[in-house]
Amino acid sequence: MYLVVEQLLNGLQFGLLLFLLAAGLTLVFGIMDFVNLAHGSLYMMGAYFAATFVAWTGSFVLGALMALGATLLLGIVLEYVALRHLYGRDHLDQVLATFGLILFFNDAVRLIWGPAGLALPLPAWLTVPVQIIPGVYYPAYRLMIIVVALAVAAMLYLVVMRTRIGMLIRAGASNREMIGALGINIKLLFTLVFGLGAALAGLAGLMQAPILTVQIGMGENILILAFVIIVIGGIGSIRGAFMAAIFVGIIDTMGRAFLPDLLRKVLSGAAASTAAPALSSMLIYLLMAIILVLRPEGLFPAAKR
């Protein structure tokens, strides 16, 4: 029983970590309608910045804050120099351009920080396991990820769905020309939103760094999961992305935890060992395919909110 509870918690935590990454992407892709594959690179940059600044300052919190500022700035520069010219363009142009950025960032990081990857050590108060219910211990840091992700979710929902800024962003995504004709400087607004998206990517990167280390290309596989989440949830729906993230996190973790034993009951040992990890990784995609076949616009289509 404890096993199930603990695995559920693992799943929840993994899902919320995915949500952190998906949050920035929801802004940029879900709402501004810009397919940014380099979101994963910003995630990586966030982690590298954090590792560097934490080492400089010796303080986890201070270093993390500086890293957030740095990714914000990087996002703004990136948008200003290149990406703003691609808003009205075909999604595929955006794919190609930001794919180029991935290549660039990976090698730039290798040039600057070397190929080895960095460590981002946690302060002592975050390394201890906490007893959450009698008999069940859980790593304190993973609990913190849960808390931060919940806070980000709430903030994002309020800003996007409840404020005029949020309306303007959504309006600007659907018709840039018209929002300009209403007297709103959409370029500036989008630059800022892109920056915010980048900072959220950076936040996700630095939050996961102490668990998964800081390394080149760390954003690429997880980025696809973030896209999966946004699409399952329904593009543009923050609530959808949130639910989908938890759903995906739990399915993935439960699959890894219980599928191997199930498979061993039907297959020979060796075949089961090879098949289990592959098939459990497949579950997420199976889930996405099923959901999209049944609900072609995701769980919460934005238009019918």
Binding site: G117, L212, P260
Partner: protein, 369 residues
């Protein structure tokens, strides 16, 4: 030919590029020690990046053989990359020296006169760990490793020598899976007395981090193969303290070649320390040297070179070893531990010899006699 051409295939991009770098560094150092000449001829080395992907490795091997027409191909960190590339090299009768990967197939049915290893067969190291666990009286173990050629060999290796009970065996997706929380939770709840893992490169750092953070370190001791080395140690830090592993080469092995290798490496690459990957690459350069010298630079005499290499006519930094019929070393394996060294840094230390003159368990399957 008026030069000796060597192709070197390893990983030079992505998170495991550190390993490739270390191998290149050591290989370059060996060439320095040889005066950058082999039997008086200049050496030309072409480094190719396999990106840790079998298909890319295969493609790069093809290029080296067809376009560069190299005399030797060296390198290969990853068993799956090596397995994909093998046919190309063997078909073209180019000598291939694996400086790391040691898949069981290579030792058995796929062994070839043109292929030599300066490392080991994958199963051997974990077999030594299993033996050590028996010595410590461990009763049960939970196994975790990546789901690819080497991961399967490694776990099979422990199982072949460990006498206690294997209460669980988990494979994770390689190399993309970075979060091991589900596996750790299972291991913890399995009530196993110990955990064995094989996670090379950055994955090893992640595993140790998560193992410590989850608080399991205090409850269930960990045994490893290829998980803690001089590259990962600076990132693993204290998490690695007290976690044993096995190795055929450790930086403090007390032979003269090794002392020179380690000292010159640290001199040439300040701030870095050599690893077993590097040691094996260093040996590979010397193995090649011995063969070319023996045929007096006539690189067409493949049979003679093969015969020479089979004799191991050079001084290995791991100390003396012999080749089995399948061109896999027969060698000692040592217990290594993590300690703080004189400079106050964490480093690896030889504690004991677990097995002597160990031969891999697949050599019977190799048709070469």
């Amino acid at each position: 030919a008026d030069s000796v051409k060597i192709g070197f295939v390893s990983t030079f991009s992505g998170p495991t590029a550190v390993i490739g770098n270390d191998m290149r560094n050591s290989f370059e150092l060996a060439l320095d020690h040889l005066g950058r000449k082999i039997d008086g001829k200049p050496v030309e080395v072409i480094y190719e990046d396999d990106q840790q992907k079998p298909d890319v490795g295969k493609q790069k091997t093809e290029k080296l053989v067809q376009s560069d027409k190299v005399d030797f191909i060296v390198g290969y960190i990853w068993s799956n990359v090596l397995l994909a590339s093998l046919k190309t090299a063997v078909d073209s009768k180019t000598f291939l020296i694996s400086a790391n990967a040691g898949p069981s197939q290579l030792a058995g049915e796929l062994c070839s006169p043109y292929v030599f290893s300066t490392s080991w067969q994958n199963d051997q190291t974990p077999q030594a760990v299993g033996t050590y666990m028996n010595q410590k009286g461990v009763k049960s173990v939970f196994l975790i490793g990546p789901n690819y050629a080497a991961g399967k060999d490694m776990l099979a290796g422990v199982k072949s020598t460990f006498k206690g009970e294997v209460v669980g065996e988990e494979y994770t997706v390689w190399p993309s899976q970075l979060d091991f929380s589900a596996e750790l939770t299972k291991a913890k709840n399995s009530k196993a007395e110990s955990i064995f893992v094989f996670y090379p490169g950055a994955a090893g750092v992640q595993f140790l981090n998560q193992y410590a953070q989850a608080g399991i370190k205090q409850q269930i001791p960990l045994y490893t193969a290829f998980t803690i080395d001089e590259l990962s140690l600076p990132l693993q830090k204290d998490n690695a303290l007290g976690v044993p592993g096995a190795q055929q080469w450790v930086n403090d092995l007390p032979n003269e070649e090794n002392k020179k290798f380690v000292a010159d490496y640290r001199k040439k690459y300040p701030g870095l320390r050599p690893t077993f990957y590097g040691a094996q690459s260093y040996d590979a350069a010397n193995l090649i040297n011995s063969a070319v010298v023996a045929v007096k630079g006539d690189l067409t005499k493949k049979d003679a070179m093969k015969a020479e290499m089979e004799k191991v006519n050079f001084k290995s930094v791991r100390g003396p070893f012999k080749y089995g019929n399948n061109h896999i070393p027969i060698q000692n394996f040592y217990l290594q531990d993590v300690v703080k060294d004189a400079e106050g840094q964490l480093s690896l230390k030889t504690v004991a010899t677990i097995v002597k003159d160990d031969q891999d368990r697949f050599h019977d399957k190799c048709p070469m006699k």
